[in-house]
Symmetry: C2
């Protein structure tokens, strides 16, 4: 089969460790399914700041642009937290999203059986929770003009939130299509009782909704959504929302599953191009000790296979392998009830690779 | 003693019912403690739209402006949801906040013993949760310029988020002072890794923090805060944040206590002037049936006594009376485990009045 090019960005903290295991999974699927991958490694985030003086070097962008998909570990850490804006890992993250046109962030929030008890929510409330947050990723207050100025009452700071119809329509249509393949329920989240961008958002949703008659749509105000996620998480299927609200709600949704350390995410551009990464962060406190859980990154590979390459056989195999290893009781220390029985990052990788 | 003037705004839905019980509590404290209140009723919200054509009539504003404090029931309902912006109850709410200079919204989120089980969080996670969200209420993206325009890519909508140093400093200092009277922990919530207004916010917090050396400050990013509220709610004491983040986080915090139907809130202006209201909404579905729970509104009176009038004896008495009635097992239907034993709005009022 055709060679697929994957840009691999290990990043900071536990990034390199978890990405290493995901790459072994890639190799294994080449053997088992006959796919061929060309991986190209690139520097990004804190390590790129240290080695090249910028969080998003031009070569990294080029490696990504010439790839079919990007696999990202994690970026950031206290070492760079007090840097000036241009020298911060987050600036690289925002830059890569914009440069690669990754307008849509897909954040599935599901409950892993073996982690049900890790949630702070009652099991009966959590039961059946399986939702997907579709977050707009290249617009809104993240990318609008921002500046300081001397105002009537002294120094002031300004952020601008802008959305045009096309930007909203693109993400909303994607969310409808995703809902069509799931339980056919879409919650569009906005603050239309206060914000003009939200009123535009709601107009677009209402205009395109009739083209997806099989999907049931509800408009939910963002403050109410933050509450309903807590009260009735299992009643949500797909949630679509703008960048800032999506940042907050997708983290809330991920946390309430109790499975945040196991969740994968995709940031999609036009066509099938996507950047895949675990939802968890770079966890600098446990970096380099073989303690990290590689499952979220391995599941990010499965998501890549499904969404970018259409390799659902291999995606299924990876997901089944993960389930099988967990069912057999193997745990890294983050999810082990008895820490003394925990296995290392690479042992978990070994087991999953063997199970594929 | 001096006559205190209270503007009473019953509002929509269950507003009139719960406010009626709160007024009986006011009367009772006059008898018991010798205080004297002059109450003036005013139209606001949906009912004001219906009767006067505007959600915030000029006379209502005058009644409020000449009062020492405002007691508000609840506003809004589906009847007015599709009105144009100027004819919506929310527009009245934003208008009254701005006109009265209510820059600070205090939202205590506590767990009522009898409602512990109503939370979707596990009791052991909830244990000891007692936090206060201090939300900036007259700035940020709520009040910045908002408009539509023809952009490069067609129609677009714009919202502007603006904060000046004085606005931030005012609310931040208030939060520090509140923290000093509580457990001396302040979490300042922002999105300083993305927003310029958040960077200004953080600078102000860092500049004034040394003046409150007894208060331990942490900066928490808003997405992380949405998660930590779920993971370790009891570790928060005071949370201070800007308007939009405060809207979302205060609702999340209230909901996780399981006691949202019982929580009071205060919106404070300069000096001791304040508007007091229950956190819950107008619940149009149960309006007029004597089913509403008046406790949150009655506790709003206690908050008014404490924060505006300094009548802590009467505030204590009200809070004790509420606790006593609940301890004796009396419940309105919203909080009754066995609905058949539920008492009515006015029966709950009777019991609390009698217990003062
Ligand atoms: C690091 C930060 C800029 C980023 C965001 O806010 O988008 C992160 O929170 C995320 O959700 O990917
Ligand atoms: C009704 C709405 C405008 C209001 C707000 O967003 O401030 C409400 O949600 C609140 O929190 O008081």
């Amino acid at each position: 089969s055709e060679v697929k090019k994957i840009a691999v960005i290990a990043g900071d903290g536990i990034g390199p460790e978890v990405v290493a295991e995901a790459e072994r999974v890639l190799k294994r699927t080449e053997e088992v399914f006959g796919y061929t991958f060309e991986t190209n490694h690139a520097l990004f985030g804190g390590i790129a700041i240290d080695e090249t003086g910028t969080p998003l070097p031009k070569e990294t962008l080029e490696v990504c642009q010439s790839a079919d998909a990007v696999l990202l570990g994690a970026v950031g850490g206290p070492k760079w937290d007090n840097n000036s804006k241009e020298l911060r890992p987050e600036t690289g993250l925002l830059g890569i999203r914009k440069a690669l046109g990754l307008f849509s962030n897909l954040r599935p929030a599901v409950v892993f059986d073996c982690l049900k008890d890790a949630s702070t929510l009652k099991p009966e409330v959590l039961e059946g929770t399986d939702l997907m947050v579709v977050r707009e990723l290249t617009g809104g207050i993240y990318f609008g003009e921002k500046f300081r100025r001397e105002g009537e009452h002294g120094e002031e700071a300004v952020d601008t939130c802008v959305y045009n119809v096309a930007e909203v329509e693109r993400i909303v249509r994607q969310a409808f299509e995703i809902a069509q393949k799931r339980r056919k329920k879409l919650a569009s989240v906005d603050k239309a009782n206060v914000l003009e961008t939200s009123r535009l958002w709601r107009e677009v949703v209402n205009r395109v909704a009739p083209e997806y008659p099989d999907v049931e749509v509800e408009h939910v105000l963002v403050d109410n959504c933050a509450m309903q996620l807590l009260r009735r998480p299992s009643s949500f299927d797909v949630i679509v929302t703008e960048n800032m609200f999506g940042d907050i709600l997708s983290d809330e949704a991920a946390m309430l599953t109790g499975s945040i350390g196991m969740l994968a995410s995709a940031s999609m551009g036009e066509g099938s191009f996507g950047l895949y990464e675990p939802v968890h962060g770079s966890a600098p406190d446990i970096a380099g000790q073989g303690l990290a859980n590689p499952i979220a990154t391995i599941l990010s590979v499965a998501l890549m296979f499904r969404l970018t390459f259409g390799y659902s056989d291999a995606a299924d195999a990876i997901e089944r392998a993960v389930a099988q290893v967990l069912d057999a009781g193997h745990r890294t220390s983050d999810i082990a009830v008895d820490k003394s029985t925990a296995i290392s990052t690479s042992e978990m990788g070994d087991l999953i690779v063997a199970a594929i």
